[in-house]
Subunit: 470 residues, 2 copies
């Protein structure tokens, strides 16, 4: 509950119309796309400018009020839930593409820009912004930056951090810092830009970003390969990379996911297949043709019972849409869908998927797996019901075992979703207690009063843990 | 001067044979490639393992002894001079390539590996490690990581930070942290990997790195375009990028540099040209041929009086060697060579080069310019003599004006050399006092006793500054 002084202070900064605290508004911003995490904020505030952000953050810092910057709330780690109440900051008024610079191949954007709007805007100029999280139709660039969002094109093109070359951000003390710029090279001190990307709103509020663009690839082709066994599919992933081909997209869907997507989208996916690989290559026409031919051969040599190259761009796009619909398709099956992002070195994909199957069986829970096989970033997805406490305990146990297995294979607890609340108890598994302490020292240096998105990344307490078998 | 207790402690950790403190040894490690900075260390220590590093750093932390990690000392910002004496740590014993993983396209290396040795080792497996600082024949990967080294391939392929996916490092308290891994995606907490890369040895000692590799490009071609005027050359740089071509290398040499290189290497460079552009494209054969053809047309349309495509790989390599020899060639002309790396958005190259010419004339100093035009990273290089105090004042004045101009054009004070001692007085020009304060808070969080490479990045005092004209 904000004091009258703080409430009035906010209204003075942004205008009464940009401070929302009706019960309905508070409920709307009490949760994000992560199941089973909900806390009411005290108010929702819409800054109109960097100056507004600075004034709000100073007020929060003075009165030790939690501040949660939020894009569209599509994250899957409870990263934007207002765990300790306080203020949720949204960027509806700071949603402009400020510039697309064709000479320097850069864009300058405000945090509230929708990812797909940016992608379309640069494509009109024959340019390319590669990061494409599945939520890109509604996610914002600010949210993508806070979470270092990945996507289907990560294998060849990297993730959000690879495209942020400069930032403007506001520190908890209200100071405005500008880093980087339209620069391919800049080593003026520590790389605060990279530190901010993926910091989940726990260090500062990002108010502007300079993004690197690429020339738009001139051609693209899509291919679907069907397998009886998931091991064979996993081995094909390894053999494609080992043959020095880096496809733009190399996605994996297991049988349960295929069946759910087909039931949802009806696009003719082979529901009898044990697994499919969905591949895209882009680039110059000759390269696309050559790589697709070679990948087709490798799929066939790897035991695919059918390999189809999409006959047209529209057919290819339909296949990709099917993949992008996987979460929606699975979400129809049960009241609660928990989508994780355990990630392993790409050579360990088959082993990891098999382990997930075994862990699900052992704990008697329903887990489908799909994801970005080419970069080892899997999405084991559990269909469950949060109201069933006994089952939820088994679900949590299963995910703990999945995280432990990923770590054991040289992987990580989160490839692209972030730590948030959801994975904070497991962070030390990946980075060690020493690493968590180093991160906490950085947090303390930036935000001594712990107002920025408190309760995220750093676990309040360590949960009971599954032993990691070495 | 180390106490007997500390001196004995070091010998106990690494063995007497790995503690050097004869006067000759101290002189050898009292300076690096940066002119006019020299301080004797108290000892030079050669750890044999991460455990040795941890024990040394704990000893240093206990007794507040400065510790300077050093590769081959090729940096140009006085980044590895032992400004406050103490211990210089070198990695002759930690110089192994631990693994090249062809399935995951990664290499795991110790910090003492020579950059070119790694490049050759991965090329034998048809793989590619792109960062290629001009010093790569002798520079180490550890040094490259500390400085976030760039190189000639930065335009298309990025710099060192784009290839480090995991680190092992030792904190000043002796704790060992492992980040990242063989992972294309990892968002488990703050990106400490990126924070460490380019931190100039001021936060921790890097003891192992996991590096991303690419498939080796199948073809490469080299081309030289000669111009009467540097503006025309600069405009061609912009037009190549604006035509959506990203060459592997796009280098610029001004007339004075051309003449110095030709006198040094005698490879038939056109000493009458006002500027040359040296271009490379790599990739699939068809793409290389197409891009080279298009670039040739753009050079001719941009006013090049001659454009020659190297007839063979050997001829191309000779041209590239000429570019890599620029510093050596210029260094013959005068007793002291100061090579800077002011960087601007690539569309501002011509304007920046012209400004450098004017600034040199105005201050009556001799400055040649060459560098990575494609990524806006120029190397204005001054031939002078540090014994001439009056001239050195004019040199410093000229470089101040060059940094100010770079900032005014949206650039930075250092693209790839780092801040070190040399550019610390100018850091706030780029990042603001607020940014410097944020960086200092990170430094304090990692290294509360300020033992790690003290005196670097953060200026002890602010030098007299040239006003920045906005």
């Amino acid at each position: 509950m904000l004091t009258k002084q703080v409430r009035d202070g906010l209204a003075t900064i942004v205008g009464e119309e940009n401070v929302l605290d009706a019960p309905m508004d508070l409920v709307v911003y009490s949760y994000d796309a992560t199941p089973d995490y909900q806390t009411l904020p005290d108010a929702v505030v819409k800054p109109r400018s960097t100056k507004d952000v600075a004034n709000i953050i100073k007020l929060c810092n003075e009165f030790h009020i939690p501040l949660v910057p939020r894009g569209s709330g599509t994250n899957l780690c409870a990263g934007t839930t207002p765990l300790h109440s306080g203020i949720v900051m949204i960027f509806n008024h700071m949603n402009r593409i400020l510039e697309i610079d064709e000479d320097n191949l850069t864009a300058v954007v405000q945090p509230g820009v929708i990812t797909l709007d940016l992608i379309h805007a640069v494509e009109e100029k024959e340019l390319f912004y590669p990061p494409d999280p599945s939520s890109m139709k509604i996610s914002t660039i600010g949210g993508n930056i806070n979470e270092c969002s990945g996507g289907l094109r990560g294998l060849k093109y990297g993730v959000t951090k690879d495209y942020v070359t400069g930032l403007e951000f506001v520190l908890p003390n209200g100071e405005i810092v500008r880093t980087g710029g339209k620069l391919a090279k800049d080593v003026a001190g520590y790389d605060l830009t990279s530190l901010l990307v993926g910091s989940e709103g726990t260090l500062a509020v990002v108010t502007e970003a300079t993004l690197k663009l690429l020339p738009k690839p001139e051609a693209k082709q899509t291919m679907l390969a069907m397998y009886s066994s998931l091991e064979a599919a996993g081995e094909t992933v390894s053999s494609i990379i080992a043959n020095k081909i880096i496809p733009a997209t190399l996605e994996f869907l297991d049988q349960a996911t295929i069946q759910a997507v087909e039931a949802f989208a009806g696009i003719g996916l082979p529901t009898e297949a044990g697994a499919v690989l969905l591949m895209e290559q882009d680039g110059p026409v000759e390269v696309v043709q050559r790589d697709m031919k070679k990948m087709k051969e490798l799929c066939e040599a790897g035991g695919a019972f059918s390999v189809n190259v999409a006959a047209s761009a529209a057919e290819g796009e339909a296949l990709m849409q099917a993949r992008r619909a996987a979460l929606s398709a699975l979400a129809r099956l049960k009241p609660t869908t928990i989508l994780e992002d355990a990630t392993v070195p790409r050579s360990k994909i088959a082993e990891m998927v098999r382990a997930i199957v075994n862990i699900a069986e052992k704990n008697n829970v329903q887990i489908c797996t799909f994801g970005h096989a080419g970069d080892g970033n899997l999405h084991p997805t559990c269909m469950t019901d949060v109201r069933n406490k006994e089952e939820m305990e088994r679900v949590e146990k299963a995910f703990e075992e999945i995280f432990a297995k990923a770590i054991q294979l040289g992987g990580t607890i989160t490839g692209e979703h972030g730590v948030g609340v959801m994975k904070s108890p497991y962070l030390a598994w990946k980075i060690g207690e020493e690493g968590v302490k180093a991160m906490a020292a950085v947090k303390q240096a930036f935000d001594p009063n712990n107002i920025m998105n408190p309760g995220k990344i750093f676990a309040k307490e360590t949960r009971k843990r599954v032993m990691i078998q070495q």
